[in-house]
Amino acid sequence: MMRSEPTRAARVRSRINPAVITSSGVLLALLVVHFTTASGGLSQYSIATLSDQAAVLAIAAVGTTFVVAAGGFDLSVGSVISLVNVVVATHLGESSASQVGGVALGLAVGGGAGLINGLLVSVARLASVIATLAMLFVWNGVALLILPSPGGAVPFTFTDRLTSFVFGIPMSLVLISGSLLVWYLLRSTRWGTAAFAVGDDIVAARAAALPTRRTMILAYVWAGIFYAVAGILLTAQIGSGDPNVGTPMLLTVYTAIILGSGTLRGGRGSALGSVVGALILRTVFNVLFSIGVSSYYANIVTGVILVAAVGVGSIRSVFADRRAAAAVRPGRLQPEKAD
């Protein structure tokens, strides 16, 4: 008997990650709290502020999601952003041409760093943790060489361009949306499908004759490009270069991804989830700050949120595994599925 074609609704439903729906709900609730307690309420200005604050993290998290989906770990996210930051901050001039050049240079640096990561992981076959950890320190050192202490010259016009409004929408929101759009475009290409396949089961992917090496390299390259975008936006926002600016981002990026998609497992991952996670983090911080909690605790809060988010997700899956194991009673065959 032929299985009936899955309905369109069922197909759409199967592609939406349930965890993202949960976290979007959490975000919605938090946003309500945020905008009712913040001074100025819901206005174009307050939306822009939140968007500006969360954008760098959100875009960086989308970048890392590429690598996580392909089954790897990218520990170099913070230092690549620092590197792009110092490179761009030391190569901007007043003229538009030099600013475009600076941006292009930043993108090249990010993509290049990603390429190196990708080559180390797929061609040299190093474990992604070791490769990206080593590169984290190399890029840190390079950033320190370029700019030993915070400085650089970021012209006001540059900052203005990246923090202003486009048709009433803050630039940072445009960039976040752009990142999501690029993610979904890439996701629907052959490479996108291959990346998820590789992340899920690299042996099976290879057996299915997928170009696993090229796929992984591209995942890291795209991640690097997104880090570059985040770094360029960050440069505009802080108006200077700082070789250590990205260091705390390693933790926050992974917290955002886990908050949004609930897992770091390969073969899964949603840019929307990562953006939602970044917004949740930022909103929580803002709410805490507005009730008087000092920024000292930002670190503890991030760590606790991370542990809570991962712990909850993991407890749930541990119990699900136990339930599934208990459901299979020894000595009884599973009934054959009618087909």
Binding site: F73, L75, L120, V121, A124, R125, L126, A127, V129, I130, A131, L133, A134, M135, L136, F137, V138, N140, G141, V142, L144, L145, P148, I202, V203, L250, L251, Y254, I258, L264, Y296, Y297, A298, N299, I300, V301, T302, G303, V304, L306, V307, V310, G311, S314, I315, S317, V318
Partner: protein
């Protein structure tokens, strides 16, 4: 004798002796043994080289200097190595070191009298942090990177909470002496402690049932579980071990610096991982030995000292350290599929 398809038996073709030799040579190059040997040879070469490149350096005294310089990394890398052997990572080392040092100076208030109860408390505290890490990894099945990253940051926040941001505490004189005084024959006091530590560490990993269980888990945790290895308990214990070693490292470091200060442990994360990887331990777990790790810690200390003497900046040292890890990982005996 080989059965062929039609039932006849024929002799298998004898492997040419040439082929066997090169295969064996290639296999040998990738073993841990040659890795460890290379590490010690390189260290010796560096020390000898230093006498030529740097003014006023003499081999024996420089060697002892290296031993002292490498002591913190050597101690911390033991714990990190044990964790890596099970296939994990401990990224919480920086702030466990700092917490250990700060706790020691706060409890002892710079005197020797309280050491006898302060020392065990500090080591215990490090172990408790490790316990949290271990529980997260073993029971909640969290990724070790995520758990230890979170622990590191939470610890940082907690320490900042309790100390504000002012520089803290003076180290007790006994610990300071441990790190600075030389005993018979010009041998540094801490060298004796290190020798004891290395012996205990190697015995623990290579000669006890616990050590074998650690290697078993790293090689194949499923098989280990099926052969009645208490995987979860062993996993938790390696993280406890790592936490205690990091706390011990903090104690030694506070003696070396004379005081403890915020962020003192930050510089030791990379060297601990570097020493483990360069010393021949595979990041996939199950392969490696503390002998190699200790040698790599000495190698890194020698490298840092030579670079310092030649005028290298922190930036250059960080880059070279990162590159060394890459090179060592490339020559490692096991890589991903």
């Amino acid at each position: 004798m080989v059965d062929t398809d039609n039932g006849a038996t024929v002799a298998a073709p004898a492997p040419s002796p040439h082929r066997a030799l090169t295969d064996r040579a290639r296999a040998f190059v990738h073993t841990t043994a040659i890795n460890v040997l290379a590490v010690y040879v390189l260290t010796v070469l560096l020390i000898i080289g230093a006498t030529f490149w740097l003014p006023g350096i003499r081999v024996v005294s420089f060697t002892w200097t290296i031993v002292v310089l490498s002591s913190v990394t050597a101690v911390v890398a033991f714990g990190q190595g044990a964790v890596v052997l099970t296939g994990g990572f401990d990224l919480s080392i920086p702030w466990v070191i700092t917490s250990g040092g700060l706790l020691l100076t706060t409890l002892t208030q710079g005197t020797n009298g309280r050491l006898w109860w302060a020392l065990p408390i500090v080591l215990l505290a490090g172990g408790m942090v490790g316990l949290c890490n271990g529980l997260g990894v073993a029971y909640l099945q969290l990724s070790p990177i995520v758990v230890t990253l979170a622990t590191n940051v939470v610890l940082q926040g907690v320490v900042l909470l309790f100390t504000g941001s002012a520089p803290q505490g003076v180290a007790p004189p006994l610990i300071v002496d441990l790190m600075s005084k030389r005993l018979v024959g010009g041998i540094p006091a801490v060298a004796f402690l290190l020798a004891l530590f290395v012996i205990l560490g190697v015995v623990l990993l290579q000669r006890t049932a616990f050590g074998r269980q650690v290697y078993a888990i790293g090689n194949n945790s499923r098989v280990a579980y099926l052969t009645a290895v208490p995987v979860r308990r062993v996993r938790i214990f390696v993280y406890v071990l790592s936490g205690s070693c990091a706390a011990l490292g903090g104690i030694l470091l506070s003696g070396y610096a004379g005081r403890s200060y915020l962020g003192m442990g930050d510089a030791y994360l990379l060297p601990s991982v570097a020493a483990v990887v360069i010393g021949g331990t595979s990041v996939l777990g199950g392969r490696g030995s503390y002998v190699g790790t200790f040698g790599a810690a000495a190698l890194l200390a020698a490298l840092a000292a030579v670079l310092d003497g030649l005028g290298g900046s922190v930036a250059i040292k960080t880059i070279i350290l990162g590159l060394c890890v890459l090179v060592a990982a490339l020559f490692s005996s096991r890589r991903t599929g």
